[in-house]
Symmetry: C2
Subunit: 120 residues, 2 copies
Amino acid sequence: MKAIILFGHGARDIRWREPFDCLASLWQEQHPGTPVQLAFLEMMRPSLEEAVASLSAKGATDLTVVPVFFGQGGHLRNDFPVILKECRGKFPSLRLSATPAVGEDLAVLQAIIDFGARAL
Amino acid sequence: MKAIILFGHGARDIRWREPFDCLASLWQEQHPGTPVQLAFLEMMRPSLEEAVASLSAKGATDLTVVPVFFGQGGHLRNDFPVILKECRGKFPSLRLSATPAVGEDLAVLQAIIDFGARAL
């Protein structure tokens, strides 16, 4: 079974995660057959490993991690591959892949442009 | 004249800003009559004040700042209003407004969901 992990940075302020909770709800409404988990790099739970464990316990075997970041800086280029490798080591029976950051997607950028245009 | 400022966090790795440069290019292509500037909270230039000065020098009088952040945590709830207030104090003849974070926009979130769905 496929599953998706929406992976964000995390923050001290709990309200920061509201769009992430909204993303998870939207996903589950629109893709009810594909379980979703949020995961955070730091300051929020679950960690990526905890999210992988949770989805594995639900029967997921093919997990795609989507980094919900704009830019690909040190966190995604340095920290994320290490965490992903550790998860692969701990869950060798799972297929664990990752997409580029969502900020690399032209449709996401276009939605931001359109949001700005509506605000002017 | 109206103008837009796309305001991001900033990062040490210069490659982090690639989606922001892409956003500025997209904006200018699609809205050639409305100047755009990027601005960053930290670690990258220009600052918000520098971006405001630059757009003011081009004749902009009505500036909208779009925070290109997912969540509204401490940076947007605490740091950003202080910087915005300082800019208003330094440029009293300009109209300087701000939108919520782009992560509050359902169309932006939907584009992220669709990106994830295509990756599975």
